[in-house]
Amino acid sequence: MMDFWFFSDLVRMFEYPFIQRTVIVGALVSLCAALLGVSLVLKRYAMIGSGLSNVGFASLAMASAFNLGKTPLRVAIPVVVLAAFLLLRISESSKIKGDSAVALISTSSLAIGSIVIASTTGMNTDVCNYLFGSLLAMSMEDVWLSISLSVVVITLFVVFYNKIFAVTFDETFAAATGSKTGIYNMIIAFLTAITIVVGMRLMGTMLISSLVVFPALTSMRLCKKFSTVTICSAVVSFVCFFIGIVLSFRHDIPAGASIVIVDVAAFIIFSAVSMVGVATGLYKKVFGKQKLGRFL
């Protein structure tokens, strides 16, 4: 039977330790990205993922060019965290707004990265792996580092959830009533930076933004509360990652691209459901006040 064959195939797939590693790291990163994504999309910082990943790319290129050890994440993480704080500062304190600030940092670090690569190692598989993503190259140390960082990100997100909502919804009010909004913004930037660096290995610098943006946008089609959007994003992100990674192994396509395509499909399905629901009035009935509306 088709289903059974697919299932046993799946089981066999997970016998490989490197696939287990990929799935664990990938699932955790997808969760982190989805949780933070809601806030970033709503703060109009959707492209921060792509910007920071270019910084990560430049720092990884430097790390490999100058042979800075076997765990390039150790170089990339502090650099990207710094870049995230810088980004925040630029768009807060001056007349350069969020999206332009991201473009500035993003393109300049891409330029630096390409110059470093061209003048040292040249375009090799290592570089390609950074651009398009591959987990196969991850060392055990990187895997453990990624797992612990993801757990830290998820924990901090849960602890700061209410504050993140407040600064995302209305920063002025939060500041006016005495919340330290600067610190909470820095926490968001810090968590984002870590998520991006860890996620880059899987998705590649070109596609990492999708991990941040898609789940949030997808769940915003149907859910209308911050809490449900957040939970729905996490679920959507995890499911899409899982389907994407299985498709990637079965059809031998890059994992990052495969996950993005599944994300696109989910977005289209959610949009269609929302449109049909509104058009037919079904939405009000099913998701209306009395029933599911309490939860959605």
Binding site: R44, K163, F169, F173, T177, G178, S179, K225, F226
Partner: protein
């Protein structure tokens, strides 16, 4: 001691003076209405009171029994994006954040307070609705409920009725008066809608890049600045209120 005192304060943007010579005090139970034309520095003063902006000279300070985290605020414009998903309850509850300090989650009591304020503003039926899908008046009520969650003492309202139709404005003014009279909440309200606003006020502060008048409403109506301003506002509206 006064709840709030402003001593010869002046505010500037990028070194350019915007409003100066501010001298007034607000006592518990007052209802102060700040009037003046657009660009006269009303919102700037509100930000100064909230400590979001520091005065370039003079000072603004709160009395002994008022802490920054005990001020409720209704911003002039809440730049909430069109697609922001949040229920009315989530928005109102977020007003309790300042009282949480470093604690991560809201307590049962916080949720009770949020529900009480939702009832006070008669928006129980909107509790689980999506904030962005409400009408302007309903949104202002939700934001007022949020502000009430943040304070029992002082509410700062910056043009709370801009963008509302006259009926919704009057309702909102009614609620604000009730909060002032029955719940003993001190009100500082900015408005350029002179007759709706001044009606319930106890004190008036008139700004035009500096302080033109500060005093009780009765004195204001008889003052030079007040007469001029009220006459002009009356002409604009086609009728006189006082």
């Amino acid at each position: 001691m006064a709840l709030l005192t402003c001593e010869n304060a002046a505010f500037a943007y990028d070194g350019k003076l915007c409003v100066e010579g501010l001298n007034f005090e607000v006592n518990a139970g007052d209802y102060l209405c700040i009037v003046g034309e657009n660009g006269s520095g009303k919102s700037t003063l509100i930000k100064g009171i909230l400590n979001l902006k520091q005065p370039v000279s003079g000072r603004v300070y709160a009395g002994d029994n008022l802490h920054v985290t005990e001020i409720g605020y209704l911003p002039q414009q809440t730049a909430v994006s069109k697609d922001f998903p949040a229920s009315v309850f989530e928005v109102v509850l977020s007003g309790r954040l300042n009282s949480r300090g470093l604690l991560p989650f809201y307590s049962k009591r916080d949720k009770e307070i949020a529900n009480e304020n939702i009832s006070k503003l008669k928006i129980e039926n909107l509790r689980n609705e999506c904030y962005r899908e409400l009408s302007g008046g309903q949104q202002q009520r939700a934001l007022l409920a949020r502000a009430l969650c943040a304070t029992k003492k002082l509410l700062l309202l910056d043009e709370p009725t801009s963008g509302l139709d006259p009926a919704a404005s009057n309702e909102l003014y009614g609620i604000i008066r009730q909060l002032n009279r029955e719940n003993k909440i001190t009100i500082i309200m900015v408005s350029h809608d002179i007759h709706g606003a001044i009606g319930f006020a106890s004190h008036i502060l008139h700004l035009r890049s500096r302080q033109l008048f500060y005093g009780t409403k009765e004195d204001y109506i008889n003052s030079e600045a007040g007469k001029k301003f009220l006459r002009r506002a009356g002409e604009d509206d086609g009728f006189l209120v006082f």
